[in-house]
Amino acid sequence: MVDYSPTEMMTVSAARALKNDDVCFVGIGMPSAACNLARLTHAPELTLIYESGTIGTKPDVLPLSIGDGELCETAMNTVAVPEMFRYWLQGGKISVGFLGAAQLDKYGNINTTVIGDYDNPKVRLPGGGGAPEIATSCGEVFIVMKQSKRGFVEKIDFVTSLGHGTGGEDRASYGVETKGPSRLITDLCIMEPHPMGKQFIVTSIHPGVTREDIIENTGWDVEFADEVAQTPIPNENELSVLRALHARTAKAHEGQQ
């Protein structure tokens, strides 16, 4: 039996959601760790795409930015950014988009723009970047995010990118034909949209986490599936690969200046 952190549990669970034949548009940070872990474990042929234009990249260390040299050096091909957004993302070639968020609601709508009013923000966040179109053009969207009342809110301050809108069929009313957020992986559990209402419901709880933990760290009324699974713990291989990846990354990013 191995020891692991909640963040490791989250990353491993997120990695497991990816299949070997997926083509995945990778956001920076947590998504990047999960996607590369998947590639280095059960999904060696997983195609990773970063918005900087790198297709089929296999970085040995995690990039600090989405355009580090490592991404290009290990990619099958690197295209211009307009081509990436036009032919590959908008062209419907990407099966999974992997996003993080600052604020999230129960329908998987994401805010990474502002906290507070747009014109007089309390906190100005980085903005949408690729997210508004990743959220609508990828076959489906996985969200990975640490759970907290501040982040998991009843109403987000700004809809940076569309999830299931107001639930039910609302997403399709925007002319969007893709599946949208189909999985939310946190440090406490896994949630999936209700088949009809599309609100996230807890379908798997990480070992050692209680229903109360989840409720206390969520700003909306948490719903649980009729049958809630227990998330399998990280295995030794997953953990050692993930830790080695982080160790290589830390070393690479500190080795300069």
């Binding site: 940070g29 900087s52 930015s65 290009c72 723009t113 949408g128 940076t160 569309l162 969007v176």
Partner: protein
């Protein structure tokens, strides 16, 4: 009009003026930092800054008071955190109010593409269900005349000046980009004038691929050799991204006084020749 080789001082003085709309591009890679410093040094004001990812380079220009407006799609220090100068300009109007026009990456990438293509607007499948159209009047929707599908439209980007960094120019003034090429070529083709800083000027490009990402000398205004001119970003084949510097920027930019001191020491009292040493310290 064939490109002219100049010093960085001459290039900025002859191509950039107060009130211009300027795009300085480079997607993590090949960001024209030396040219950004020169614009600050020359005290150019009231610029409308366009850039998909206004990271450190625009944090510096905004904090130094060069900018009137920012057009952007993601404003952060990638992997590190916020851009404190940008944030303070928006939240506290320091050094003065900064107007912003915010888009998504897809919108800006399409707008550069449309600018290069001589179109007045870009049409794309974007912003569906997103809230930016509520706060940005430069996002509209049109209908496909064949299917009726609702499509987003944004004005094309057509800067007065585009500034980019490339690996090489040849003696004739043709330009070669390699690696993560971002939107640089589009940004140059979309602009009235352009400044290209390069790592080196070579006799010829050797047996480069016929399909390499290039610009001919007649599509470029000014070329300046600035070894290391993209530091702390990187130039594939020359030096690595100075990730440690990006992290070090965070505390500098957090504090007005620290920021001003840094600008004074490294920009006002510095010059493009300082970048070669930074390149050497980060050799690939």
């Amino acid at each position: 009009m064939v490109a002219r080789f100049m010093t960085l001082k001459e290039a900025v003085a002859s191509c950039v003026k107060d009130g211009d709309t300027i795009a300085m591009e480079g997607f993590t890679h090949l960001i024209p930092h030396a040219a950004g410093n020169e614009i600050i040094r020359q005290g150019i004001k009231d610029l409308t800054l366009i850039r998909m990812t206004p990271d450190m380079i625009y944090d510096q220009l905004i904090g130094a008071g060069c900018a009137k407006k920012l057009v952007f799609s993601w404003g952060g220090n990638p992997g590190v955190g916020s851009l404190h100068r940008l944030r303070e300009a928006i939240q506290d109007h320091w050094p003065h109010k900064l107007e912003i026009e915010e888009h998504s990456h897809a919108a800006m990438a399409n707008a550069y593409d449309a600018g290069a293509a001589g179109l007045p607007c870009a049409v794309f499948k974007g912003y569906r269900g997103a809230e930016l159209p509520r706060v940005n009047k430069n996002i509209k929707f049109i209908e496909c005349p064949f299917t009726g599908e609702r499509l987003a439209a944004v004005p094309s980007i057509r800067p007065d000046v585009t500034v980019v960094h490339a690996q090489k120019a040849n003696k004739k003034g043709d330009i070669l980009f390699e690696g993560i090429v971002g939107v640089q070529k589009e940004a140059v083709l979309a602009a009235q004038k352009s400044i290209i800083t390069v790592e080196e000027i070579v006799d010829d490009f050797g047996d480069v691929s016929p399909n390499a990402v290039m610009l001919p000398n007649w599509a470029v205004t000014a070329i300046v050799e600035v070894p290391g001119g993209a530091h702390p970003s990187y130039a594939q084949g020359y030096y690595k991204r100075d990730n440690a510097f990006y992290k070090a920027w965070d505390p500098i930019a957090r504090d007005r006084e620290a920021f001003k001191a840094w600008i004074e020491e490294h920009v006002m009292n510095g010059g493009p020749e300082d970048f070669a040493a930074k390149r050497d310290a980060n050799k690939a």
